[in-house]
């Protein structure tokens, strides 16, 4: 691609778009701050658009106010900062105790919304509730949580897991009042649960006794609007004050609001199946994987396809969690001649239609799109398809309507390339690599091993993950996680990271001090204010 041309046309588009969106931009991470001059509105009530209602409320699992959106009804022992650091929450400090225990010192004087005191027994009850459901990511059982005294709790996962601290930041590990009725969420958070109408709204009101200070907002209404386009229209109509915005069109959407971006909290990557069943087995050839890695222009993905609402990423997780180790992963950038040479050397010669062939087999790959849903990737797969074509690789895009179909295909090994958007919701750097690329469990069934069966690269990777799970010092954890990812990305080309993606929200100009968290489940509402 002639560079000058690209720059020029980019500039043309940018001018048009920038003019169109006029003042609708604010630089990331610097929302208009509540300077003393700003007069606050008399009515501090806000409506926020949320995606489809995914809550459930039964014995097995109660997610009210926790997931997928966090209404701040509950607190966790530790929290995740927008920089992916573990911060104090209901626990003010913690220490690791050999061999596998974290001891938490709880915040004194904290009260539940009904006025009762928060103590260690509430933590024990909350952890045991998750133990009954299988133990969650941390891996807890009924004996895992022990109250040492009223304000001290020991948590010992049932298997060696030194990453428990980083995992406990996730709102799944919210602390509810012991023996409370899950239908009436009772937490310690900055907002009290008021009302939940299925598929319509959750309403919460300020908890003036909040240990972190009285929230300015009196009431927050989260409205469920499943269609992304309708959410944007609701924002433009002024019906909601805050809404997410699709990253591919964020720049083109204008109105009485500004567009805010979080730091990177999610990533887009292509995984290559190395053990697909017949018809989907070309990915076993390392040359193919390498060519794919060099075929795609990550800069255009970031700048044009997603209109600047992402940044080039060579790792699978927000680089911040890896500290300095992230730079050891070099990754790939578009290099068409190199990709072509790799394929040429491996015996894949261009056919009449430009698509390469070897031993009568066409270099035709299927690219499965559907996790977590097809829309979040738009329009990247079609762009990648056109780029792969330039090096002689034909791509058939298969969009699955839902994750179940996606997973079924994965379990069956039906697909060469798998496009996934992962998001980092806790502070554990090896969680995602471990989950997706560890060798399959010999005792496991086909479906629980589906990622491993398709992508696991073997012993060296597994060893790095084991080190990551068992390390105590942060630098060792980061080093082990980086080692594991380097094997995946630089050595085996099983993972082709494309971009780290931002969360993007349109925020009414009346909203002050809203800081978009890179991981949606950690969003805070207690600092937000409304101006006149």
């Amino acid at each position: 691609m002639p560079r000058l041309n690209l720059v020029r046309s980019l500039a043309g588009v940018m001018v048009a778009l920038v003019i169109a969106s006029a003042c609708a931009q604010s630089s990331p991470g610097s929302p208009a701050s509540g300077s003393p001059k700003v007069e606050l509105a008399d009515v501090q009530e806000i409506t926020v658009a949320s995606a489809a209602d995914g809550y459930r409320n039964d014995d097995k699992r109660t997610t009210i106010g926790m997931y997928p959106l966090n209404a701040n009804v509950f607190d966790t022992l530790v929290t995740l900062s927008p920089d992916y650091q573990v911060m104090p929450g209901l626990a003010t400090k913690w220490e690791f105790r050999e061999p596998n225990t974290y001891r938490f010192t709880l915040r004194p004087g904290v009260k539940f919304h009904d006025g009762s005191a928060f103590t260690a027994k509430d933590v024990v009850w909350s952890i045991q509730r998750i133990a009954k459901q299988g133990g969650g990511t941390v891996g807890v059982d009924a004996k895992s949580a022990v109250a040492v005294d009223d304000l001290t709790v020991d948590i010992t996962p049932k298997r060696p897991n030194l990453r428990a601290l980083q995992q406990l930041v996730h709102p799944t590990w919210s602390i509810a009042k012991a023996e409370s009725d899950t239908a009436k969420p009772m937490g310690t958070g900055p907002f009290r649960f008021m009302e939940y109408v299925k598929d319509q709204r959750i309403v919460v009101a300020a908890n003036d006794d909040y240990w972190g200070g009285k929230p300015t907002l009196r009431k927050v209404t989260f409205r469920f609007i499943p269609d992304a386009n309708t959410r944007v229209l609701a924002l433009q109509a002024g019906e909601v004050r805050i809404s997410d915005i699709p990253k591919e069109s964020a720049k083109t959407i204008t109105g009485d609001f500004s567009v805010s971006r979080s730091k990177v909290g999610a990533y887009e990557a292509i995984y290559v199946n190395i053990r697909g069943k017949q018809g989907y087995d070309i990915g076993a050839d390392k040359a193919i994987r390498q060519a794919i890695a060099y075929a795609i222009d990550k800069k255009i993905v970031v700048d044009s396809v997603w209109q600047g609402n992402a940044e080039i990423s060579q790792t699978m997780i927000p680089a911040g969690i890896l500290g300095g180790e992230a730079s050891r992963i070099t990754g790939t950038n578009r290099d068409v001649p190199k990709a072509q040479k790799i394929l040429e050397d491996a015996g894949w010669k261009a056919g009449a239609d430009g698509i390469r062939e070897k031993n009568g087999r066409k270099l035709s790959l299927s690219m499965v799109v559907g996790f977590p849903n097809a829309d979040v990737h738009k329009p990247m797969p079609e762009f990648a398809q056109s780029q792969f074509k330039e090096v002689g690789i034909d791509i058939k895009i298969v969009v699955t309507p839902d994750t179940a179909t996606y997973e079924k295909r994965l379990a069956n090994g039906e697909g060469d390339l798998w496009v996934e958007a992962g998001s980092q919701n806790d502070a554990n750097p090896c969680f995602l690599p471990d989950l997706l690329f560890s060798s399959p469990d010999p005792a496991g069934d086909q479906e629980s091993n589906m990622y491993g069966n398709a992508f696991a690269i073997g012993a060296a990777f597994d060893a790095a993950i084991k080190r990551c799970r068992e390390a105590t010092a942060t630098p060792d954890v980061q080093k082990a996680a980086a080692d594991a990812m380097k094997l995946l990305i630089d050595d085996q080309f099983v993972v082709v990271p494309l971009a780290g993606t931002f969360r993007i929200a349109g925020i009414s100009n009346k909203v002050l001090d809203f800081v978009l968290h890179p991981a949606g489940v950690h969003q805070r509402w207690d600092g937000v204010k409304l101006s006149k």
């Binding site: 459930r56 299988g134 269609d227 229209l233 994750t403 069934d445 629980s448």
Partner: protein
């Protein structure tokens, strides 16, 4: 009369059984192991084989399909459709939560459609080829040709974003009903206008109308008392079919307007392999459709003197 209704019910009974078999068979068709979904949705990220096997046994999924069908149907007729895999709540409750919303939307849309279509169709037929007729026909033509979801967005942009007179989406106030109902009503009105017009034209050309006119009956009496009354047979039939289709859930309109009806929920259930919900909803809406058919049949008794009770009219 009662014998007629009884005969209709006797005819519909096997149809109802057919619907139940098809509803149940959907679970045999679709890919994906429901058990894994259940386990994952109850917070277990990587279920072990033992858990999967145990859960499969608990849900009775190891039994042969006919046994499961019989068990499901005997529960269903007593109102027990089982619990949703996805939300854990009883299917019956999610039905009773959502169906009234869908019914509300469908009824308002149909009534709105009739309010537009009946006068327009009648006037169009009376003043055939007049300007009014031409406009009505073109309107009906375009109304029947616009993609529904496109129209939905256009209506939102016009009435909610530009004019700001109606809300974009939601379901908490009666005002929220207007745009989704209007979107659905346009399609219904277009079809019903065409039908009303042609049915009226047919009736107006009949002998009895000339007779009535020649007897000096007022034109309004002729139109409303005779022609429209007879045209109603066809109109009621098509209205019933339209209503039945809307009660199955207007998925796209419900999704766009965040209307908490059964359509969107049902599609989500399909995507999540939530079989108890799919089966329960399909059987329920199928039953409702059969009841509407029955009601339409019964209405002929009043509307159409040609329907001789006990006779076979074709």
């Amino acid at each position: 009369m009662l014998r007629y209704i009884a005969r209709r019910i006797a005819y519909l009974a096997p149809v109802w059984l057919g619907i139940s078999i098809l509803a149940f068979a959907l679970s045999l068709l679709a890919p994906g192991d429901p058990v894994r979904q259940v386990l994952q949705q109850s917070g277990i990220d990587a279920p072990s084989s033992e858990q999967v096997i145990a859960m499969r046994r608990d849900l009775g999924l190891d039994d042969p399909a006919p046994v499961r069908y019989a068990r499901w149907l005997s529960g269903a007729v007593r109102g027990d459709f089982g619990n949703s895999y996805r939300t854990g709540e009883p299917v019956l409750r999610s039905l009773t939560d959502r169906f009234p919303r869908t019914a509300q939307l469908a009824l308002v849309a149909i009534v709105l459609g009739l309010l537009i279509a009946l006068p327009l169709g009648v006037v169009s037929a009376m003043w055939r080829n007049s300007l009014t007729d031409q406009v009505a026909r073109i309107g009906a033509l375009v109304g029947a040709s616009i993609p529904g979801f496109w129209l939905a967005y256009l209506l939102i942009i016009l009435f909610a974003v530009r004019l700001r007179v109606l809300p974009v989406a939601g379901a908490s106030e009666p005002r929220h009903l207007i745009l989704p109902a209007l979107t659905l009503a346009v399609g219904a009105a277009a079809g019903l206008t065409r039908l009303t017009r042609s049915a009226m034209l047919e009736e107006l050309s009949q002998e009895y109308v000339r007779t009535a006119r020649s007897k000096g009956l007022r034109e309004r009496a002729v139109i409303v008392g005779h022609a429209l009354r007879n045209a109603l047979v066809a109109i009621v039939t098509i209205t019933g079919i339209r209503l039945a289709a809307l009660l199955g859930g207007a998925v796209i309109v419900e999704t766009i307007f965040a209307w908490p009806g059964i359509g969107k929920y049902l599609v989500d259930s399909i995507f999540n392999r939530d079989y108890p919900t799919i089966q329960g909803f399909v059987l329920f809406t199928g039953t409702v459709v059969l009841l509407i058919n029955l009601a339409v049949d019964v209405s002929y008794v009043w509307l159409d003197p040609r329907v001789r009770l006990g006779g076979k009219s074709r």
